[in-house]
């Protein structure tokens, strides 16, 4: 047992001071924990930043490849446009060569055949089997939208010939002559009809020749 002769005011002052010291100690420890936690977080963030920089450096070749791919795609598109332009230019000349082949064919039949109408349709040749052939309008429209992945394989020419022949053998000879030119892999006789010109019987026919760019 003990007594305490310290005045109450002193005891209370001492107690308050002690409590303040204790709470200061508690908050000091808590603050130290928070500080340590923050330091740890900053450390993690710093490490993460370093890892990101490493990944960024490692991905540089891939980015370079992507950039090259885009650049090449642009170049490819530009080249394709030039090719199309050239092909369009070449198509007109092809019509002239068709005319020559047809004339040679007519000559081979000893002029027993007369071509009354000739029509050339040009369309883009595609491996898409669903694409309709002979649609020149579609080819024209498709040109600006052509992408680097286009299945464009050249132009398809459909030469439609309508004329008259003195006899059926002349038509056969004409077709053989066209086939020899190897310009048209496919020659189809669409129709023949007998009619009279100056009271003389002749065979009116219609041929469809399909040719492609080489």
């Amino acid at each position: 047992m003990h007594v305490n002769l310290l005045p109450t005011t002193f005891v209370w002052r001492r107690r308050i001071r002690k409590r303040l010291r204790q709470w200061g100690c508690v908050y000091g420890i808590f603050g130290a924990f928070v500080f340590a936690w923050n330091v740890q977080l900053i450390g993690k963030w710093w490490n993460g930043l370093h890892e990101l920089q490493k990944i960024h450096a490692a991905a540089e070749p891939i980015r370079q490849l992507q950039s090259d791919r885009i650049r090449l795609a642009k170049q490819s598109l530009s080249l394709q446009q030039k090719i199309n332009q050239l092909q369009a230019a070449v198509s007109k000349d092809r019509t002239t060569s068709f005319l020559g082949v047809v004339a040679a064919g007519v000559g081979s039949t000893a002029k027993t055949i007369q071509i009354q109408e000739m029509h050339v349709a040009v369309s883009a040749k595609s491996n898409d089997s669903t694409a309709p052939a002979g649609d020149s309008q579609r080819w024209t429209n498709a040109k600006p939208n052509a992408s680097i992945d286009s299945k464009f394989l050249g132009n398809q020419y459909i030469l439609t010939l309508r004329g008259i022949a003195i006899e059926s053998e002349s038509i056969t000879a004409f077709m053989e002559s066209l086939q020899k030119s190897s310009l048209f892999p496919k020659i189809e006789l669409r129709s023949t009809q007998e009619r009279f010109v100056s009271e003389r019987p002749v065979q009116e026919f219609q041929l469809e020749c399909v040719g492609y760019d080489q």
């Binding site: 047992m1 003990h2 305490n4 002769l5 310290l6 005045p7 002193f10 001492r14 100690c25």
Partner: protein
């Protein structure tokens, strides 16, 4: 639910002061004794002790009209010591912080500076009781209640039929208590308790007397007075301050006989008889003034102790002391325990506990008994 601060207190005490007590500081007129005890399992050990003598008054400042002081001995009057010398001495304690564990301390003022009296008061609640004690002491000492700092504890009833109860009451001027606490704080010690000498003596006695059924008469031989306290189970049952039985009257007699100053008289008193004179003890008692004065002093003291024992036998029949325990500066007188035992007739011992390995074995351990009792308060207040 107890507040967090309470738990923090408990945790800090368990963690920091598990084995060491507070620093016990006993402030006397001649010196300030400091001690710190340590508890190893259930065994007490004196871990650190220090004694600081008051600086000589002329070295402090010239004090006019302060007659009761000796030039080389210290303060001979308690009032003068409190007014002029205590703060200066306590400043010296600042350098002793590293010697003791912790800042907490318990202090007491000896040499009758804390007044003790027994009061018969009606039983009531503690607050009202304290108020009654303060009023009684204020009337007796002719002071205002606000000027006094008082406390009390209940004593065992010695008159079973009475409707009142006995209380041991202690008082001190509030200004003195504040001055001591603030001076200690300035010296780096945080005063937790300003205890009374009988309570500290009771705790010191419980450190060496394990049997709670035994009553012990503890005798503190101080410079200004001897304090006799009947202790049982660590509680002070009765206390007396024997004002004319301090060492100073004895030292003054020896000083006059040999024409010495007080300090030299003290050296002579505490010197072992065999070291200064090879003649027989019986011859000394008649021829040597030191032995004459000491013999007369011990005889008178023994008479007072006998009176006290007689009183306790009458008042507390079942609590008659079975042994005497000496403590205080007086235990430095060679063979004092044997001399008193021979006169009083009951076993007499000098207070002693084990010393820490860092203390020298020739310490007068009994000098630090009250300070050790104060140090023990660390466990009592947990």
């Amino acid at each position: 639910m107890r507040p967090l601060s309470f738990k923090l207190d408990r945790v800090s005490r368990l963690a920091l002061h598990r084995s060491y007590g507070w620093t016990g500081i006993e402030i006397g007129c001649h010196a300030i004794n400091m001690a710190q005890v340590r508890k190893i399992d259930s065994r007490w050990q004196l871990a650190a002790v220090w004694s600081v003598e008051h600086p000589t008054p002329y070295a402090i400042e010239p004090i006019q009209n302060v007659s009761p002081c000796d030039e080389v001995f210290g303060w001979l009057a308690t009032d003068a010591m409190c007014e002029h010398g205590l703060a200066t001495t306590l400043e010296l304690l600042e350098n002793l912080n590293s010697l003791f564990h912790g800042r907490d301390c318990a202090a007491t003022l000896t040499d009758g500076m804390i007044a003790y009296r027994e009061l018969e008061l009606p039983l009531s609640d503690p607050a009202e009781l304290r108020s009654m004690v303060s009023s009684e002491i204020a009337i007796e000492s002719e002071c205002e209640i606000e000027e006094l700092s008082t406390d009390c504890w209940e004593l065992p009833p010695n008159r079973p039929r009475a409707e009142t109860s006995s209380f041991g009451a202690v008082s001190l001027m509030k200004s003195t208590a504040l001055m001591v606490a603030n001076d200690l704080l300035n010296a780096g010690f945080e005063c937790q308790t300003l205890d009374a000498v009988p309570c500290a003596m009771a705790r010191a006695t419980s450190m060496v007397v394990d049997d709670d059924s035994l009553s012990t008469l503890a005798v503190d031989l101080g410079y200004h007075q001897a304090t006799v306290t009947l202790v049982r189970a660590g509680k002070p049952l009765m206390s007396r301050g024997l004002r004319s039985f301090g060492l100073i009257p004895l030292l003054e007699q020896i000083a006059r006989s040999f024409e010495l100053n007080m300090s030299d008289a003290q050296t002579l008193l505490f010197q072992s008889p065999s070291t200064h004179d090879g003649s027989s003890k019986g011859h000394d008692e008649f021829s040597n003034p030191r032995e004459q004065k000491l013999g007369a002093f011990l005889k008178s003291l023994s008479k007072e102790i006998d009176k006290t024992i007689d009183y306790t036998n009458r008042a507390y029949r079942s609590m008659a002391p079975s042994q005497l325990l000496l403590m205080g500066e007086g235990v430095r007188i060679p063979n004092v325990d044997q001399a008193i035992e021979a006169r009083v007739g009951i076993p007499t011992h000098t207070w002693a506990i084990d010393l820490s390995e860092n203390l020298f074995g020739n310490q007068h351990v009994g000098t630090f008994a009250v300070a050790s009792g104060l140090s023990m308060l660390a466990w009592e207040s947990m």
